[in-house]
């Protein structure tokens, strides 16, 4: 029986999966912290414990994400966008346009039927174009991050954010709170602003159905709705959307080395 590890050390969260014959048998994630090397080791140890395995059961490991270089037990390192494309392709093969909303960046990928990246665009580590913008406003409003999406959908009139910068947006949210705006309307405003930024990236890459959304941002059902409204299309969201990249990494781990190119 061969087991594979897919390890995704992101700037915010570390995510990992164990697969057996292509099936995911364990999923695990936690905050990466400042030490990516430590995060990688902890992720391996905890995943193996969950799957009741030891490292000798693991046939191959692929690491990806910002901290991939510090995962010293990995056999290969592969770029996160390639893992994302493969992961999504394995779960939702009909998807051609992927919107991956991570904490630090948003990626929009155009992929083919084999799960290969044809074209992509990124928000270039701008908090205003990534999940971080939502975290910041949730913090201002003292609303748990899991609740912001559904609250945003209860708004009667989203406030208009005049800025796409998360730093200026934070000040703007504080001012609106002082003026008596409701949490729902402020949250709707920030979701709308982020959806606008994400959707304009999709416009630039070009629309091609079907559309899939993944990354931590896709766990926010409100954000999915706001992006759907703006783009006018349905977005497919895999179960456990934050693990798509780690799943893609585990798929690469299962393939012979000559089929992949180390990044």
């Amino acid at each position: 029986m061969a087991y594979y590890l897919g390890i995704d050390i992101g700037s915010g969260t570390s995510k990992g999966v164990v697969t057996r014959n292509g099936d995911v048998i364990a999923l695990h994630s936690f905050r990466s912290g400042v030490n990516y090397k430590l995060a990688g080791q902890k992720l391996r140890d905890e995943l193996l414990a969950m799957a009741k395995l030891s490292m000798k059961d693991v046939a191959a490991t692929v690491a990806t994400g910002q901290g991939a270089g510090l995962v010293d037990y990995a056999d290969r390192k592969i770029a996160d966008i390639r893992c994302c494309a493969r992961g999504m392709n394995s779960i939702l093969p009909e998807v051609r346009t992927i919107i991956d909303v991570e904490g630090q960046s948003t990626y929009v990928l155009k992929i083919n039927e084999k799960g290969q990246v044809i074209n992509f665009i990124t928000s270039e580590r701008c908090a205003g174009g990534a999940g971080r913008f939502l975290d910041i406003i949730a913090n201002v409003l003292q609303v748990p991050i899991e609740e912001i999406g559904s609250l945003s959908l209860k708004s009667n009139g989203p406030i208009v954010f005049t800025t796409a910068c998360a730093v200026f947006g934070e000040s703007e949210a504080v001012s609106r709170v002082a003026e008596g705006a409701s949490k729902e309307d402020i949250l709707a405003g920030v979701h709308k602003a982020l959806a606008e930024k994400i959707s304009s990236m999709v416009d630039r890459v070009g629309m091609e159905p079907e559309y899939g959304m993944c990354g931590g941002g896709a766990m926010n059902k409100g954000l999915v709705v706001w992006v759907q409204r703006r783009l006018g299309v349905e977005l497919l969201v895999p179960p456990e959307p934050q693990y798509v990249i780690a799943i893609g990494a585990a798929i690469f781990a299962r393939e012979p080395v000559n089929k992949t190119f180390s990044s």
């Binding site: 400042v34 630090q104 908090a127 730093v167 002082a178």
Partner: protein, 292 residues
């Protein structure tokens, strides 16, 4: 002899500045205060304290010009003029040979190309906190240092770090990573100064950097950014004694010129009934652009 007075008020995003001058252009008094959250209510208070300094009434001021991003919210002003025009005028008054004026304020950065004292071109960035005073404000909080101490601290740096994040939010994480790795704080601060200077230098490159280059705005008070800007631009950067005042001073000078020109042409200037009061509205949705 009857003295006549002119005032300029510059409502910036972060600081509000009031300057009162006489007809010779001499600075009689100035007041600078934090704009704060309720800044539209503050404009008249700051004007009041400037008037008190000279023991004057608002009616004693011949002409008042408001500038800055909150200029529309100054009900006692006779006219509003964009800060680009006022900055150019103020800088050219102190540095007649200025060719490029760089202003880094609390929430924006501007590059002004000036020829013979006149504004001929500009670039501006107000969409992103990076490259503005806000970047340093956020960073100083993360570092646990006072904003005004950053300049002096950075001068002690021997091995400046490189801040790779353009985004202010992600730069915070980089600061924490450097500090937790044991990097001396002065090297981190110097890296932040280089990051902001590099960004602004790239922004103004289109305007052709030629001397004299003058640097104003609150960030010009930071000697570390001045030095980093000199390094990034490859030329000397001049800073006025009080770099915060150039916009308000320019506004006051334009006020003075407006009246003197009208007098010499024998025209009278229509002044709306002036009341020193709070602005009654809070939104500045599309702003008013006024020429000069």
């Amino acid at each position: 002899m009857i003295l006549i007075y002119f005032a300029g008020i510059d409502l910036g995003s972060t600081m509000t500045k009031v300057v009162i001058i006489d007809e010779s252009g001499k600075l009689l008094t100035h007041v600078v205060q934090h704009t704060g959250a309720e800044h539209r209510r503050l404009a008249n208070k700051i004007m009041e304290s400037a008037l008190q300094n000279l023991n004057l009434d608002v009616e004693d001021i011949s002409y008042i010009i408001a500038t800055g991003y909150g200029r529309i919210n100054v009900p006692f002003a006779d006219k509003q003029i964009t800060e680009l025009t006022c900055h150019a005028r103020g800088v050219a008054h102190f540095f007649p040979k200025v060719s490029l004026a760089i202003d880094i304020g609390g929430q924006d950065a501007k590059g002004l190309k000036i020829k013979d004292g006149k504004l001929i071109d500009f670039v501006m960035s107000d969409k992103c906190a990076a490259g503005t005073g806000r970047f340093l404000e956020v960073a100083s909080t993360t570092l646990g240092l006072k904003l005004e101490d950053l300049g002096a601290i950075s001068l002690k740096s021997t091995h400046r770090v490189s801040i790779s994040s353009l985004c202010t939010i992600f730069a915070q994480q980089e600061i924490i990573n450097y500090l937790s790795a044991g990097v001396p704080v002065e090297d981190v601060v110097a890296g932040l100064h280089d990051a902001i200077a590099g960004r602004v230098a790239r922004m103004v490159a289109r305007l052709k950097v030629e001397p004299d280059v003058v640097f104003t705005g609150g960030v010009a008070k930071n000697i570390g950014v001045v030095k980093a800007l000199e390094e990034n631009l490859g030329c000397t950067v001049l800073v006025p004694t009080d770099p915060l005042l150039s916009g308000a001073f320019g506004a006051a000078l334009i006020a003075c010129e407006t009246i003197l020109k009208a007098q010499s042409e024998g025209k009278s200037i229509q002044r709306t009934g002036r009341k020193l009061e709070e602005a009654s509205f809070f939104r500045n949705d599309d702003g008013i652009l006024s020429g000069n």
